[in-house]
């Protein structure tokens, strides 16, 4: 009875508090219900989802050779493990996490029973996520070395995938590899650029400021295209694959943005901190490394995470240099005359996956911000 009373109260407070609210609710709710009904009616009765199932390999990995798909699974396990470790720093493996883990394992088992072929590998990826999450929650050493481990995982992932040839990377795999690489490389580059912009050496300051301002005043697609065109002209003896040139373009572009977020962090650190560190006899380098940067990064984190989300969401722009990312893979499937009538199914699937990945990134960002805010209050 109390639950009923509670829900009535919730309804009153949130939806029917004032005449205007009531009116709005009466308009919006039926509209939402109508849209949802229309969508569900289509999704269940009319849509033919078999096109997503039959093309799932292309959507996820593009033209990656089928006989080397096990490399992708290894890379996925590594990335899942890294995500697990990152999760352990923001939310240690508690009881709720355990419950969520069990629910997920059950879900993946059901999924495994459904689509037999990918069952074992999927279970392995999920398992590595939870194993590292649990290990990270227990071990302080693992958590402390997250940055180093992240770079190690990135290099291993690139090496593991390279036997198939970078030109075959595609689909969601390419989007994720691109995001991971650019996200990790932009932070050290951004730190260097931000310090360079505040440097006492005028030429260095001018160079860094110029770089940041130029990158921030041109569109991403232009930078990616220019790097793609310029590389074979400047260094024809080093034929870099399209994917690598795309990665370079994204990294160069977004490191300018990362630099600005970090600079705002640097400027937020009180001058007294530098003076105190200097009076303790710390060298200039140590002052920056031990005292200033940790405090600056704390302020810069929300912006940097936003940067990562941007990288993931703008990854489809690599189509301009002929790469097949997740969105382009969907369009490639629709170009097959057999699938020409399945436009909505493919786009709804793309939407759901983009939404899921984006939600995970923003969710982790919120946890991270909350954790950093706790540290600041101490």
């Amino acid at each position: 009875m109390t639950t009923f009373a509670k829900s009535l109260r919730w309804l009153h407070v949130n939806l029917f508090a004032k005449p205007f609210d009531t009116g709005l609710t009466l308009i919006v709710l039926p509209l939402l219900a109508w849209v949802l009904w229309g969508f569900l009616d289509w999704a269940i009765m009319l849509a033919d989802w078999s096109v997503v199932l039959s093309s799932i390999k292309v959507l996820m990995t593009g033209l990656f050779p089928v006989e080397k798909l096990w490399l992708v699974w290894i890379a996925l396990c590594l990335i899942a493990g890294l995500t697990g470790l990152a999760s352990s720093t923001t939310m240690p493996f508690g009881r709720n996490a355990l419950l969520a883990a069990l629910a997920l394992v059950a879900l993946s088992l059901i999924a495994a029973a459904w689509f037999d072929t990918i069952s074992a590998q999927t279970a392995l990826v999920v398992a590595s996520f939870f194993a590292v999450w649990a290990a990270g929650s227990r071990s302080e050493t693992l958590r402390a070395n997250l940055t180093g481990i992240a770079f190690g995982v990135l290099i291993t992932v690139l090496l593991v995938l390279s036997p198939a040839g970078p030109s075959t990377w595609g689909g969601l795999l390419l989007s994720i590899v691109l995001t991971l690489t650019a996200a990790l490389l932009t932070i050290p580059l951004g730190v260097l650029l931000a310090f360079g912009r505040q440097s006492r050496i005028a030429s260095l300051r001018a160079l860094c400021t110029g770089y940041i301002e130029v990158m921030r005043s041109v569109p991403l697609i232009l930078v990616v295209y220019c790097i793609w065109v310029a590389f074979p002209l400047v260094a024809p003896q080093f034929p870099l694959p399209d994917v690598v040139r795309g990665l370079i373009g994204f990294t160069l572009f977004y490191s300018a943005y990362a630099a600005e977020f970090i600079r705002s962090g640097l400027q937020s650190v009180a001058k007294g901190q530098t003076e105190a560190a200097e009076s303790l006899g710390l060298s200039d380098m140590d002052t920056k490394r031990i005292v200033i940067l940790p405090q600056a990064l704390r302020v810069a984190v929300p912006g940097l995470v936003g940067n990562i989300l941007d990288i993931f969401n703008y990854a489809p722009l690599v189509f301009i240099i002929g790469l097949t990312d997740f969105l382009r893979a969907g369009q490639m499937i629709l170009a097959n005359p057999e699938n020409s009538g399945r436009t909505y199914e493919i786009y709804v699937f793309l939407f759901l996956v983009y939404f899921a990945v984006g939600s995970v990134i923003t969710f982790q960002a919120r946890r991270l911000e909350r954790k950093l805010a706790q540290g600041a209050r101490k």
Binding site: L233, A335, P337
Partner: protein
């Protein structure tokens, strides 16, 4: 002295692109880097079931690989877009591009690529209801002609009306869907747009036989492959491979009968298939290059039927159009092989 050094510098600069021998690179590498689109139905798209690239453009890549390297599967498909295709070939990232590219003078003069022979004619055409009995654009006097708003087709229709002195009503619609709806409801007697789009709408309609695409092309749009400029050896080899695929169809050589045709007594056929003569050696490629291309990929007619023929969902009519062989009233013709 100054003049001499300037001349020397200029001739050095000119020598750089000419020294780039794509053919040598391809033979040394053992694979062909072929630029294609991967979102063009009928020309370059992925067959999701087999995981292989398919389409008319893709088949040309395969034919070149079969001719030059002896194996149609030795192709590395590099996806190119409308924006990147010319740069990709100029910077040597791909050896050749087959990506439904329209031959235009500026592309050879200003952008400087060398086009191969035309492999497909697309263009604006008209579709009518079969029941109307209209067989040609000449039968359309007084009919309601429809097209999409703001397209160059509108001007093309106006030109036809002026040329013929007709006073037809011309209606324009926002998009293809509404245009098709108008034809379907009888508001329009003929809809005008790209032939490949007409074929797609016809193929996806409930009863394709109720609709007829008229044979004429109003605004022609010829497609051809292209290579980087100033590399005659490579360009000429590919030019004659393209011609050879057309010649094979004319001579009746197909993937099924190419082996027995090698035993033919006709000296022209024997030279064409590399049983005798030095066609291949002179180009710097294997003697049986045309035999390999036809055996592994098929002649032009087989390639067309596989990708755009009546059994496909696109089904672009070939008979009586520019894409038919010259012996059947079309434009597909090869110079003499002797």
């Amino acid at each position: 002295m100054k003049k001499i050094s300037l001349t020397l510098a200029l001739s050095l600069m000119a020598a750089v692109p000419a020294s780039a021998e794509v053919l040598e690179d391809v033979l040394a590498r053992g694979t062909l880097n072929c630029g294609t689109d991967n979102t063009a139905p009928g020309f370059g798209y992925l067959n999701t079931k087999s995981g292989k690239m398919e389409g008319l453009d893709v088949d040309f890549c395969r034919a070149v690989a079969a001719a030059v390297l002896g194996d149609a599967n030795k192709v590395n498909y590099v996806t190119v877009t409308d924006k990147s295709r010319f740069t990709a070939v100029q910077t040597g990232q791909v050896d050749v591009v087959f990506a439904h590219t329209t031959v235009k003078p500026g592309r050879e003069s200003a952008i400087t690529v060398d086009f191969l022979p035309i492999m497909f004619w697309d263009g604006t055409g008209a579709m009518v209801k079969t029941a109307s009995g209209v067989k040609s654009i000449n039968d359309l006097e007084g009919a309601n002609l429809c097209t999409t708003q703001g397209s160059s087709t509108e001007a093309a229709i106006a030109n036809i009306l002026t040329a013929k002195g007709w006073k037809n009503q011309v209606l324009t619609y926002e998009n293809l869907e509404k245009l098709y709806g108008a034809l379907d409801s009888g508001r329009c007697d003929a809809m005008f747009t790209d032939k490949s789009a007409l074929a797609a709408w016809r193929g996806n309609s409930a009863k394709p036989d109720d609709l007829t695409i008229l044979p004429e092309i109003i605004e022609k749009s010829p497609f051809a492959g292209f290579v980087a400029a100033n590399d005659s050896r490579w360009r000429n080899a590919l030019r004659w491979i393209t011609y050879g695929l057309i010649q094979a169809e004319e001579s009746g050589i197909t993937s099924a009968n190419v082996e027995e045709t090698k035993g033919s007594a006709d000296p022209a056929i024997r030279k064409f298939l590399g049983v005798e003569g030095t066609f291949g050696a002179d180009f710097g490629i294997p003697a049986d290059f045309m035999a390999q291309a036809v055996a592994q990929v098929g002649n032009y007619g087989e390639m067309y039927d596989r990708n755009l023929g009546p059994t496909t969902t696109i089904a672009i009519d070939r008979k009586g159009t520019l894409n038919a062989l010259w012996t059947e009233g079309g434009t597909m013709i090869s110079p003499l092989w002797n």
